[in-house]
Symmetry: C2
Subunit: 460 residues, 2 copies
Amino acid sequence: MDVAGYIEDDRERFLAALKEWLAIPSVSGDPARAGDVRRSAEWLAAYLRGQGWPTVEVWETGGLPAVFAEWPAADPAAPSVVVYGHHDVQPVEPLEEWDTDPFEPVERDGRLYGRGTSDDKGQVFFHTLGVRAGMAASGAAAPPVTVKLLVEGEEESGSVHFAELLRAHRDRLACDAVVISDTTMWSADVPSMCTGMRGLTEAELTLHGPDTDLHSGSFGGAVPNPLHAMAALLAALHDEQGRVTLPGFYDDVIPLTGEERELFARLPFDEASWLETAGNSLAAAGEAGYTTLERIWARPTAEVNGMWGGHTGPGGKTIVPRSAHAKLSFRLVAGQDPVKVQAQFEKWVEANTPPGVRAQVTIPGGGVRPCFSPIDSPGVAAARRAMERAFGTEVLFTREGGSGPEADLADILDAPLVFVAVGLNDDRIHAPNEKVETRLLLKGAEAAAYLWDELSEALR
Amino acid sequence: MDVAGYIEDDRERFLAALKEWLAIPSVSGDPARAGDVRRSAEWLAAYLRGQGWPTVEVWETGGLPAVFAEWPAADPAAPSVVVYGHHDVQPVEPLEEWDTDPFEPVERDGRLYGRGTSDDKGQVFFHTLGVRAGMAASGAAAPPVTVKLLVEGEEESGSVHFAELLRAHRDRLACDAVVISDTTMWSADVPSMCTGMRGLTEAELTLHGPDTDLHSGSFGGAVPNPLHAMAALLAALHDEQGRVTLPGFYDDVIPLTGEERELFARLPFDEASWLETAGNSLAAAGEAGYTTLERIWARPTAEVNGMWGGHTGPGGKTIVPRSAHAKLSFRLVAGQDPVKVQAQFEKWVEANTPPGVRAQVTIPGGGVRPCFSPIDSPGVAAARRAMERAFGTEVLFTREGGSGPEADLADILDAPLVFVAVGLNDDRIHAPNEKVETRLLLKGAEAAAYLWDELSEALR
Ligand SMILES: [Zn+2]
Ligand SMILES: [Zn+2]
């Protein structure tokens, strides 16, 4: 029996088990649900044992538990792959906007509805079927690579203990690649793989002027106004080309390759509808020389998220205000280091603050590193082949604007990331009526089955 | 008997009467004190009748009453002069910071303490003595010009009915000059006259971007950020020389004359101490080519008084915000028209708002016109001679940064303004322990007595 046939045969059993798991309300953000998150971990562990995984463990953290399972390859020289996902889910409020109970999953019109169907229990679960289907098709008693499943329980509440968990188990998690199944494809008709996520660093800037608000009749025009200084600084943060002006900001950026740009361009992207999701009067704008998709996926940004100072209440108040404030964030891409960018920003502010104004920069935390795997890297190339076998069509590439625990996986496990996922942007993850396309979930299982073959060749 | 001798003789009676008036708590900003403001008007009217003024009337307004008194010159061809002051006073809170009761005026160390001693009852009152002293010295039964005293009752609460009052009585207030006695001199040792007050116009600017706050992971770098647009706009409001960039902004400005600049420069101005009143780390800054005094008195400004948008609460929020806001005010000088500047600002915003951002400008009211009388104009030159006779020393010139009802007087009565006042910047008007230097009050009376002589020549 081939992989596709096995999956077709197993479909009902697979969905029935998934629904059982989905019924456990493992909302990590709700302290009252901590017991449910634990139940969810234990359910998964029991299921994996039932499926024959030789090693299954519930790993404690300072918070909510993760599940680890390992199925070693027969050949001790075969590569090892960590598969990452999470078993906790987002809160379900507002509950009244759900058409059916978020924790009583139902199939309807080829879709499975319920909290966690797409993000991320459904996507974790297709790997369990993929491993079995692959072994059934090959007749082997073990996958061709050592598969290490790591299913986190705190992703939706910030993965606060995740780096610590990775460091504590670094030896057992040693691997040649990390497969992430917690993202999306371009669309149901256009299978695609993500190759990177932007990182992030934030900063708060305060400019101090006079000791108190001054009357502008007496002082206006003869002393520096911190709001003017703030406007000048923030206006100077971008040049006429929309490029960020911090010296050195682009030095470490890994440029887009011609191939990646060409593949991005083949995605059926309707810029007008995309702009409509943001607001009707909006025009696309950003760094010159790049398309919208390139700008949001593969180019770094500096963004002012908030700004305030002086009189902001009703009516007028003719003052030279004592201070001005801004909150900024920088989206970072492949190659950039948040800590380095923080230093660049601090230095730039110091160099550009006018006399009579005192600048103060606060950096809240170390930021999030970007992550990136080139299209032609062995892991990505292998996963691309597996996806193309499953979907029977060309696979395109995307990146993602946001970022989660992926950078920690890449850095602490020191392994390349490979994103294999079948979620869609309209799955309404984090919103009422979350769903997954059942057909895509099964395609995911099929791709996962081929993936071990492809990776066993590619990573050897 | 000469003017100075008459004033010396009358000193105790003058101060006793003034104290009686000061004891009436005519706080126009406090609705509970409306009766006291009326009492204050009636007290002044009765006093003026007692002093022999041929016409004395209490003028009603939509709010609190003013007092009008007229002493016609014997010669029907003599010029007429309106003397403006106000009989209402500022609130006295915080009361516990007063060393003595604000409404029980006391003399101590050559000063008279109490609310209204300097602003403005004391300065109105020296005119009553000045008129009598002048007539006593000349032996005439009437002053050499027709003196029309107009004492407002709502100055400290915004002069809301003042323009209406002026229009209603325009004929009776017809005059060749308006003498304003509601300002200050440079210092007790450096008598000076004000020649102008800056005007004001305000504007609120809103920039609209996306329909809602957008996630910067998904949109950042590819759509316009209204905070960036606001920073760029406000940064472009001044050029490198600190000049306001609105096209036409300086077109109507009456430039400083060499004489006025030279006289400003002779004022003993200690820029370091002035800066210390604003804040220690401050440096003077403003339009290139002008001194600090020229900048605050005689040059127009654009000032951002407040600015806000996006996330301003604790922590970070990685958004492209939907809108940005700013409140601005423009200080205007001699020759400028607030309504014209408002139009210049609106046009400039329209021309400089980037695509994808929608700008909205709100103008709260018509603004305040600047007022100005050149040093060599007949009224100012006459008052300068009167002040120099009284003080026995050279009189210098200042302007003031703020502005009150003066522009209405100049415009509606269509007459030049002449500022004759003896208040000091350390009189603590609007603060606890307001005082006036008794010696200066009497010098004010003396200058007022000479003023009618000088003006009768100058304005004929
Ligand atoms: Zn997820
Ligand atoms: Zn006053």
